[in-house]
């Protein structure tokens, strides 16, 4: 099933709703694409396969957001960061479950996934966030 699933952002989030962080791997040149893309951006091949990534990584940089758009207003202040996963792949997201003062570049974090609510409007993607490993 997963072998034939389209290499799209929509599919990435479907996998995430099943608890998995999945990336597309190019069968020709081995490049791993996160987010997945329908075509390898290194060699332009469309011979791809899905590969599952470990849900942990290291914090590369972060910020504490105090001014947010309307839909995030109720969460301020909140921390977000960019986390380096295996193979040098990266994901941005909120950092939760830790006091701001204790957030440090280089710290180990793990990905937690919150399943998507049945939304009536686009998009109905799940949220993920990072917490201390």
């Amino acid at each position: 099933m997963s072998e034939t699933a389209p290499f799209t952002i929509e599919q990435f989030y479907k996998f995430m709703n099943e608890g998995k962080v999945m990336a597309a791997k190019c069968k020709k040149c081995g490049t791993i694409l996160l987010p997945p893309r329908p075509m390898c951006i290194k060699c332009h091949s469309n011979e791809l396969e899905w590969t599952e990534l470990a849900k942990r990584g290291k914090l590369l940089t972060y910020t504490i957001i105090h001014v947010a758009p309307p839909q995030f207003q109720h969460l301020i202040p909140y921390a977000v960061g960019i986390v380096k996963l295996e193979n040098g792949l990266k994901l941005p997201g909120m950092i939760r479950g830790i006091e701001f003062e204790k957030i440090k570049i280089g710290m180990e974090l793990q990905i937690e996934i919150e399943k998507a609510q049945q939304a009536q409007t686009w998009p109905s993607w799940p949220k993920y966030y990072f917490k201390p490993a």
Partner: protein, 390 residues
């Protein structure tokens, strides 16, 4: 050898920047166009201007798209081809480049390029949301990462890697506010002290209120001609001798590093090569200080200093009005204001004034070569232009 002119600026216009109540984008643009026409009476707008390229970021602000035709009409340029360029905050840098290419193609002798944005009638959370649209939606916006947040991620990385300090960031604000006081068209004409900048409220740590550019209404434009005919319209043309543009991943998280903008470095490389110049030749520059950290990174990406030394450059006063390389003499996005679509050609307007000796209280003496650096979003687009007094 110094590069040959690609196109020439024979006139320029800028609306007042600020909270301009009751005026919408098309009306603001008409003000900028009016100034450009008045500055160059030898141009007959109806007869001479053959095409318009306009930078405009968002329909959301005014519920109005299709900006090309709209502003052409209000500028009294009805029926000429009018095209909007959109590269987020580099929209009018891209319009400028489109105008240069249109001239160089031989299709037109005279075109108008410009930009506009009307922002201040919307609430700050709404503007925050609209600006975020210039960043990646599925991974950045979806997880609550704001536009200041993206530059804050760069600032944290720069501070961690190079030891850049919050004080050095604040120094950019102090400098640009000072310059803004000397620019009657700047949005903010108020000095800010280092202490005040450092103690202002946090927007996205480590960026505080005074590290952020302003939500501003405004419009800007230039009239470009084929270089050979520029002197027919003005004694003081400014030649554009280098033009670069590049792109990068829309999500900053995908990039190799967060302490420089690859698109800006690439655009600068193209522009320097075309102009036959090096960073040492630049005498005055307008750089994209949407956040203070962005100006520090711009110094490094443009080769004004080595990577990591941007903080030192501001601290040493090199880029102040009386320094050896004045940067953002207009007040920059920080104090002049940042009506996003208008910014690229507003930067060119300032360099045009500087190179033609019309910058009044903020005039830098004896400048012949200038540069503009216009960044779209969080660096997924950058344009760099180099100018020479004609």
């Amino acid at each position: 050898m110094i590069g040959k002119p690609l196109a020439s600026i024979v006139s320029a216009g800028l609306s007042k920047f600020g909270k301009i109540e009751g005026l919408y984008a098309r009306e603001l643009f008409a003000l900028a166009a009016k100034e450009a026409f008045e500055r160059c009476p030898n141009i007959d707008p109806k007869k001479d201007v053959q095409a318009l390229f306009i930078g405009h970021m968002g329909e959301s602000y005014e519920h109005q798209g299709h900006t090309g035709a709209t502003v052409a009409d209000w500028a009294g340029l009805l029926h000429i081809p009018a095209t909007r360029t959109e590269c987020a905050c580099a929209s009018s840098g891209a319009a400028l480049r489109a105008g240069i290419m249109a001239i160089m193609s031989g299709l037109y002798d005279i075109v108008m390029v410009g930009g506009v944005e009307k922002m201040t009638h919307r609430s700050t959370p709404e503007v925050t949301e609209f600006l975020a649209m210039a960043s990646d939606f599925p991974f950045e916006q979806w997880h609550g990462i704001t536009f200041p947040g993206l530059y804050a991620l760069m600032a944290t990385a720069h501070m961690h890697k190079y030891g850049t300090t919050e004080e050095q960031l604040a120094m950019v604000a102090v400098k640009n506010h000072h310059n803004g006081c000397l620019n009657p068209k700047a949005h903010m004409q108020r000095e800010v002290t280092l202490e005040k900048a450092l103690s202002s409220r946090v927007i996205a740590w480590p960026l505080k209120l005074y590290d952020c550019s302003l939500i501003t209404d405004g419009a800007s434009c230039l009239i470009l001609t084929k270089p050979e005919i520029a002197k027919k319209y003005t004694d003081m043309p400014v030649h554009i001798i280098g033009s670069g543009q590049a792109s990068d991943s829309i999500g900053i998280y995908e990039r190799e590093q967060f302490t420089s903008l690859t698109a800006a470095k690439e655009a600068a490389k193209q522009a320097y090569k075309m102009a036959g110049l090096t960073p040492n030749d630049i005498q005055v520059a307008e750089v994209h200080d949407c956040f203070t950290i962005a100006e520090i990174i711009a110094y490094e990406d443009l080769g004004f200093c080595k990577p990591g030394e941007g903080g030192k450059l501001i601290e040493e006063g090199v880029t102040t009005l009386d320094g050896s390389l004045p940067v953002n003499t207009s007040g920059g996005l920080k104090a002049k204001g940042h009506p996003v679509g208008a910014t690229g050609t507003a930067q060119a307007y300032e360099i045009y004034l500087q190179l033609t000796g019309q910058a009044e209280k903020r005039q830098v003496e004896n400048v012949e070569i200038g540069l503009t650096h216009n960044v779209g979003g969080s660096g997924a687009t950058a344009t760099v232009h180099i100018y020479r007094r004609g």
